[in-house]
C-alpha cells in the first residue's frame, strides 16, 4: 500500500463511505465512485460524450455550476441567488475568491431555502478567470468528487489547501471519473495504434477529440496512467530542499548569507504509472533536476518552449549522493507557467537510440 493510502484522512474517508478494512482505501474509494457513475450511465442506456456525462452526474448529485469569467459574474450571482433566492452567502463570493495571496479555484455551496430534491441544491462556483481557466474542466470534476464522496453532507465547512490529503484524493477521484474509462479508453487506444510511445502530440489529439474542455496537463496525466509501459509524469519547479523549507517555515535566520538556502529546480510532483511501479522506474520526489536533463534545459532556456530527447536516469543524483537506476528514458517536456511538465518513459533495452 502506498504512503498516501495510509494517511489517516484517507482511511477515515474510506470508513465513512462504508469501505473500512479495504486492502487499499484509495483504490476502494475510486472504485466506489466509479460504480456509482456506472449505475447512472446504465440507467440512461449509455453515454456518448464527456459533456453529457458531466450533465448526468451533476444532475444526480443535485449540482449546478456557476462560472466566474469576469467581475460581472459576481454581480450576477449575487443578484440571482442572494437577492433573488434569499441566499445571502452568495453575496460573499467575490470576497471568497479574491482572498489576496490565497487563490481560490472553486467553492461548493449548499443552498438554503430550497427543496431537498431541488436539482440545484448544491451550487459549485468555479473561478475561470486568467490562469485558472485552464483548470476549469478539472475543478468542475473536483467539485463533483466532493459530492460523490458525500463530503458535502458534512456540517462543517471544509477549508483545505490543494496539498491536503483529502484534496489530493478528490483530485484522484476527479481524474478517475472525469476521464471516464468507457469514453477515454477507446479514444486512447485509437490514437495509440502502431505507436511505441506516448507523445505530447498524441495527448493533444486525444484531448481535442474526446475531452475538448480538459487541459493538456490533465489529459497528459490521464494518458500516462493508462499507458501499459512504464512512465512517470513529472512537474519541475524551483523549490527548497525539504529540511531547508522546514527551517524557513520555523523562521530560522541565516547570519552568513552564503549559507542561506537557495531554491533549485526540483521534481515537485512525481506520478509513476502502474507499470512504472511494477518495473521500478522511479524518480525521487523533490530531488534536484540535473543540468544535463532536458527538463532543466527547457526550464532555463527562454528560447525553448518544449522538446524531446533521450537521456539516462543514472545522471540524476540525489543530494545524499545516490543516483537513480541506470535506465535510458525518453523525456518530453514543455513549459507550463512557473514550471516544466514532463513525461519520462522507459526505453526498452535494445532500442536503437
Amino acid at each position: 500500500m502506498s504512503r498516501f493510502a495510509m494517511e489517516p484522512d484517507i482511511i477515515d474517508l474510506a470508513t465513512q463511505l462504508g469501505l473500512g478494512g479495504a486492502a487499499d482505501p484509495v483504490v476502494a474509494i475510486l472504485d466506489s465512485c466509479r460504480r456509482r457513475i456506472d449505475r447512472w450511465v446504465a440507467e440512461v442506456g449509455g453515454i456518448s460524450s464527456i459533456e453529457r456525462l458531466e450533465a448526468l452526474v451533476a444532475g444526480k448529485l443535485q449540482m449546478f455550476f456557476e462560472e466566474i469569467r469576469s467581475e460581472a459574474d459576481f454581480a450576477r450571482i449575487k443578484d440571482v441567488y442572494a437577492a433573488g433566492k434569499r441566499d445571502a452567502v452568495f453575496a460573499a463570493m467575490k470576497m471568497k475568491f479574491e482572498d489576496e495571496g490565497n487563490p481560490t479555484y472553486g467553492a461548493l455551496v449548499r443552498r438554503k431555502n430550497v427543496a431537498d430534491d431541488a436539482p440545484d441544491r448544491y451550487v459549485a462556483v468555479i473561478d475561470c478567470r486568467g490562469d485558472k481557466l485552464h483548470r476549469r474542466f478539472f475543478t468542475r470534476w473536483h467539485e463533483i468528487a466532493h459530492r460523490l464522496t458525500t463530503h458535502a453532507d458534512l456540517d462543517e465547512p471544509v477549508y483545505r489547501s490543494e496539498h491536503d490529503p483529502l484534496e489530493q484524493m478528490m483530485d484522484r477521484v476527479a481524474s478517475h471519473v472525469g476521464f471516464y474509462e468507457p469514453l477515454f479508453g477507446p479514444a486512447f487506444d485509437r490514437e495509440m495504434v502502431g505507436r511505441s510511445k506516448l507523445t505530447f502530440e498524441v495527448v493533444e489529439l486525444i484531448r481535442r477529440r474526446a475531452f475538448p474542455e480538459a487541459s493538456f496537463q490533465s489529459a497528459l496525466v490521464a494518458c500516462h496512467r493508462r499507458l501499459a509501459e512504464p512512465a512517470v509524469y513529472l512537474e519541475a519547479s524551483e523549490a527548497f530542499k525539504a529540511e531547508d523549507r522546514r527551517e524557513i517555515n520555523r523562521g530560522r535566520q541565516w547570519l552568513i548569507e552564503d549559507l542561506r538556502p537557495v531554491p533549485e529546480l526540483r521534481a515537485v510532483k512525481v506520478f509513476p504509472n502502474d507499470a512504472a511501479k511494477l518495473k521500478g522506474l522511479f524518480i525521487i520526489p523533490k530531488m534536484r533536476i540535473p543540468e544535463s536533463s532536458q527538463v532543466h534545459r527547457i526550464f532555463c532556456d527562454d528560447t525553448l518552449a518544449s522538446g524531446v530527447t533521450s537521456e539516462n536516469l543514472g545522471q540524476w543524483e540525489h543530494s545524499g549522493g545516490k543516483r537513480l537506476a541506470d535506465q535510458d528514458v525518453w523525456v518530453e517536456a514543455r513549459k507550463a507557467r512557473d514550471r516544466v511538465i514532463a513525461l519520462v518513459q522507459a526505453i526498452p533495452v535494445g532500442t536503437d537510440l
Binding site: M6, A83, M95, T104, V158, R160
Partner: protein, 138 residues
C-alpha cells in the same frame, strides 16, 4: 465532553490500530524512534507537548484529546460560535442571532479549495464577510 479512562499511550495505540499502522510507520511519520513509541504506548515513558503535537498531527487527533482524554459528545445541541466570530460580533455590536446567521452562511460553503491552508472557521475574516452580506441580513 466525555472523559475516558485510557492513558495517553493507550489512546495513541488505539488510533494507530484503527489506521492499521505498525509502530514503525507511526514512528517514522512522527519523527520519533520506535522504541520510544513502544515505551510511550506501554506507559513506560512520558512525552513532551511538542512530540505529542507531532504524534497528534500525523494521527489526526487533537492535543486536547490526547492529553485530557476528553472526546467531543456525539450529539450536542449547543451551538459553538467560533471565538473569532464572537469577538467580531462583540466589536460590531451584532446580536447573537445575527452572529448565528453569519455562522450558518459560512457553513453553507461545504467545500472550498484554495492554494494554501486555512484553519476553518476561526480564520474567516468575519469583518469582510459581514460587509459582503449585511444588506441581506434580516
Amino acid at each position: 465532553m466525555k472523559p475516558t479512562k485510557q492513558t495517553v499511550g493507550e489512546r495513541i495505540k488505539k488510533r494507530r490500530n484503527e489506521l492499521g499502522w505498525t509502530q514503525d510507520v507511526l514512528a517514522e511519520k512522527a519523527g520519533i524512534s520506535k522504541s520510544f513509541l513502544s515505551d510511550l504506548e506501554n506507559g513506560k515513558r512520558s512525552v513532551g507537548a511538542e512530540t505529542l503535537l507531532d504524534i497528534g498531527r500525523v494521527l489526526s487527533l487533537s492535543l486536547d484529546y490526547l492529553m485530557t482524554a476528553k472526546e467531543p459528545e456525539a450529539e450536542s445541541a449547543e451551538v459553538q460560535i467560533p471565538s473569532s466570530l464572537a469577538s467580531f460580533a462583540g466589536r460590531a455590536g451584532l446580536s447573537f442571532r445575527q452572529a448565528l446567521t453569519l455562522l450558518e452562511m459560512q457553513q453553507q460553503i461545504v467545500a472550498h479549495r484554495s492554494a494554501t491552508k486555512k484553519d476553518g472557521l476561526e480564520k474567516v475574516d468575519w469583518q469582510k464577510f459581514y460587509e459582503a452580506v449585511k444588506e441581506f441580513l434580516e
